[in-house]
Symmetry: C2
Subunit: 222 residues, 2 copies
């Protein structure tokens, strides 16, 4: 058993609770409440809250804190932002990626294709896009994508995850890798844009349709 500092442990537990929706969006938090709940002192709790604030997962609310609500407009803006980042990133990747890295990305895709567990399915999408951006050789594109996927990841639990929708996502990913392998930048960009558009349409349609249900589940949709 490795010893882990309180700071990162508390941070990880809060982050997990928020992303898994076991802490409801919009839920009010107090430092002292978390202190007793997580059996730690306020110092690491405050550190975790500050870091989560910089990631957009918690917000200051009056004198206290709250779990960031799920905001439809923010989601739309994030997906537009991803479209900007990832189309430019995949174009750079076509110029710069070495073949071995493209094949490694393809293998990553295959490994996710095999595993069907839901939480791994959750990670597969975010990891694919992050690893794709890594091929651009620009660390800021990687970081921006990581941050975007983190903020978007709570919405995945809301989205209907049918067998065919997951298959579609995988095939779209595969098409991107294929274009990348052919160094066909224009096609790669087109497919990235199409993939993000598909994601957005599916997501916003689902959320919009289930608005009432989600609100009832305590999801504060602004």
């Amino acid at each position: 058993m490795v010893e882990i500092s309180q700071t990162v442990q508390i941070y990880a537990r809060l982050r997990e609770g928020i992303l898994s929706l076991s802490m409801a969006p919009g839920e009010r938090l107090t430092e002292r409440g978390l202190e007793t709940e997580l059996l730690a002192s306020r110092t690491p709790v405050r550190a975790a809250l500050m870091r989560l604030e910089s990631e957009g997962l918690v917000q200051r609310e009056g004198r206290g804190w709250m779990v960031a609500p799920i905001d439809l407009a923010e989601i739309a803006h994030l997906l537009e932002y991803r479209e900007v980042i990832e189309s430019a990133g995949v174009r750079l990747a076509c110029e710069r990626a070495v073949d071995a890295d493209i094949e490694a990305l393809d293998e990553l895709l295959a490994s996710f294709d095999v595993s069907q567990s839901s939480e791994e399915g959750l990670r597969s999408g975010t990891d694919f896009h992050v690893e794709l951006m890594r091929l651009s050789q620009n660390p800021f594109l990687v970081t921006a994508t990581e941050a975007s996927m983190t903020r978007l990841s709570r919405t995945r639990w809301l989205e209907v995850q049918t067998e065919q929708s997951r298959a579609l996502a995988v095939s779209e990913h595969r098409a991107i890798v294929d274009a990348l392998r052919r160094r066909d930048a224009d096609d790669a960009v087109r497919r990235v844009v199409a993939h993000i558009h598909d994601t957005r349409d599916r997501l916003l349609a689902t959320i919009d349709a289930d608005r009432r249900m989600l609100r009832a589940r305590g999801v504060a949709i602004v």
Copy 2:
């Protein structure tokens, strides 16, 4: 005189010291040292350091902290990142900006043109690009540009700021606003890209030429 909390005051003072280069890039910092130097307790000092870390202005170094060194490769990546963000942003701005906001941006430009003080000249560039991104209506493009400009702002002090180079920057900004006013997205993007390329070339050339001098001044250029 308004009372300001220790947390934001300490943060602001550290930030100012770092951005003005009065705290040297690569300089080692200790929480207890800053505590006595800034006449505050470790709690707000730690909070400030954590926030500055998330902005990339300080880094953890071993068990301690250091002012983030100026990294030539990082600067190049940041300028490439800005090119991605701002070309997409200005294209969106052409579609979405209302005329009044474009005129307001033009007036901002005029006000900076008049004022010739150096630190306002420093701010004028960053504010122009941030306000430009605001016209895209996407808050993530605004935030990304703010963060990039912050990280880049230390390099401005190193760059030779001749009268004609500043005049060139202003005229390039003006050309962008003109294209925006004509809703000529392709031209606007072209001019944004050209402007950032110019900035990069001037910056990297200056820094590369003065490498030895800068290192002698205590600037840790990796």
